[in-house]
Amino acid sequence: MASGLHQSDFKNPVVRWIDARLPVFTMMEKEYGTFPTPRNFNYLWNFGALAMVTLLIMIATGIFLAMNYTPHVNHAFDSVERIMRDVNYGWLLRYVHANGASMFFIVVYVHIWRGLYYGSYKAPRELLWMLGVVIFLLMMATAFMGYVLPWGQMSFWGATVITNLFSAIPLVGDSIVTWLWGGFSVDNPTLNRFFSLHYLLPFVIVGVVFLHVAALHITGSNNPLGIDPKGPQDTVPFHPYYTVKDSVGLVAYFVVFAVLVFFFPNLLGHPDNYIPANPLVTPPHIVPEWYFLPYYAILRAVPNKLGGVVLMFSSILILFVLPWLDTSPVRSMRFRPIARIALLLWTVAFFVLMWCGSQPPEGIAVVLARIGTAYYFAYFLVILPLLGWFERPLPLPESIARPVLRGGGPLPAGATSKPMEKA
């Protein structure tokens, strides 16, 4: 073999020839074939793969929608209606894309919650977690700009309200908003740049996802017990065990996705967005898409413009420092009796905020939004830092293999690192 070539183990001569010069086959085999993965994943570990698949669906449908979409204030709404009525399968592409955004957020919220519950953000996975938060922020920006493109009433007024958030910045706020708009109101320049960025950002997300996965393959996956694999008896190769498990989850996911697209395509949308944008009339009750509602509730919980905006952005940015706010060395909430309840309450607070965000800002909704906001932040800033000191965790299992293979007497020390009979 000529020097400078990669030593390939593949038998097929064509694969071998390529692999010796560009070892992509070796890399795929290492990262997705034999990659040692904890043997005790539950179905919550499907959601990373589901998010990846959803990203690809969004990019594919988006590229084909862009072939028929016109980013101009006079034509945008009509071009979307033309997609729905005249373009072959245009209705399918658009409904998959629109509901795909909702499915993407459902999947990513479960994925994030999985990380919160099993402590996946803790050392050594801090950077992996932070890259995930970057992806989440990019997703939110992309989703927001995508919602503006149909140029309906909700598109227009959503764009107006969200861009106006930046006017809360002292001194330069108004200049920034004018710069974002490219004018003195949301208008054609705004629509054009939103379309440009809506097309760009998904590919930026692909790049950050690559880094996210690269970081994951350095530390290895967390698992429901939150303890590190101690040897080969604690892991299984990614293929076929988790390719198959992910496939099962994917089929179930596609069923839910298809039911939404084919039977309830407008369930999660807002009827006002089928009215063309009118810069002179605001709809009586404007709400963001469902996935932004909790943050919208936080924004409105504070009777101060700058305070609300700061709190809303903080609610996401706080995730960046979560690895250092949680002082407990125990990852999985399965062994943290108090933190587990605190997180479940946080989850309730999240849904309460979601409901509050959908309501007009008056009466009980405001009170609940304030309580929910207070708890949302208290969980990160007070409860998690203190629990590390006051909580007594349950005893951790000796290894991943032991609780999986139940039965048998207590193993002598060191036995866990011996190969298991079955494996």
Binding site: F64, R82, D86, N88, Y89, G90, L92, L93
Partner: protein
């Protein structure tokens, strides 16, 4: 199918299974069968997903709705020609003179690169209707206006690569392989045609 599998493991796989292999072997065959079925479903499913994407690039309904063009012939005097648009392409409509018609009819078909009689190219001899796109590489030939070059045969001349067409729009000289195409059209009245 499930029952067949349960009673005769591996049976659907054909002749080999009939030898009645040992249980481990039967299991292996069943796995092959499952792999085959899974693969087949994946291929069909992928095809079903890909098709709407490909189909969406075909002409949409609003484009197809523009696929006919009506032309009023009454203002076109003998010797005049007009160009109309049908499906985004120029269509030449010429009210031919008696000389044009005779010149076109007298050409021996055997001399032509793309043999067609003049009668095969018209419904009424005085009206010549054809798509004004050179069959070489898609330019629009000159010859609609009296001041245009008409080529060596008194019809049309394509300035891109020098194809000459006669008074019936047939290729006579130059690189183009075919006569100018006659689109489908009908006379809806004596002075009106519908193209498409």
């Amino acid at each position: 199918m499930a029952e067949t599998l349960a009673t005769h493991p591996g049976a659907p796989l054909g002749a080999e299974a009939a030898h009645g292999a040992e249980p481990e072997h039967g299991g292996g065959k069943r796995r092959d069968f499952l792999k085959l079925v899974t693969g087949a479903f994946a291929v069909v499913g992928t095809g079903a997903i890909v098709w709407p994407f490909i189909s969406s690039m075909n002409p949409s309904r609003d484009v197809l709705a523009l696929s006919t063009t009506e032309v009023d012939l009454s203002p076109i005097q003998v010797g005049q020609a007009v160009t109309v648009v049908w499906r985004g392409k120029p269509v030449f409509v010429r009210h031919r003179t008696q000389q044009d018609i005779e010149a076109a009819q007298q050409v021996p078909v055997s001399e032509l690169r793309d043999p067609q009689t003049d009668a095969q190219r018209v419904i009424k001899p005085e009206w010549l209707v054809m798509i004004g796109i050179c069959t070489h590489l898609g330019c629009v030939p000159l010859g609609q206006k009296p001041t245009d070059p008409h080529g060596d045969y008194g019809g049309w001349f394509c300035p891109c690569h020098g194809s000459h067409y006669d008074t019936s729009g047939r290729i006579r000289k130059g690189p183009a392989p075919k006569n100018l195409v006659v689109p489908p059209y009908t006379f809806t009245s004596d002075t009106q045609i519908r193209i498409g």
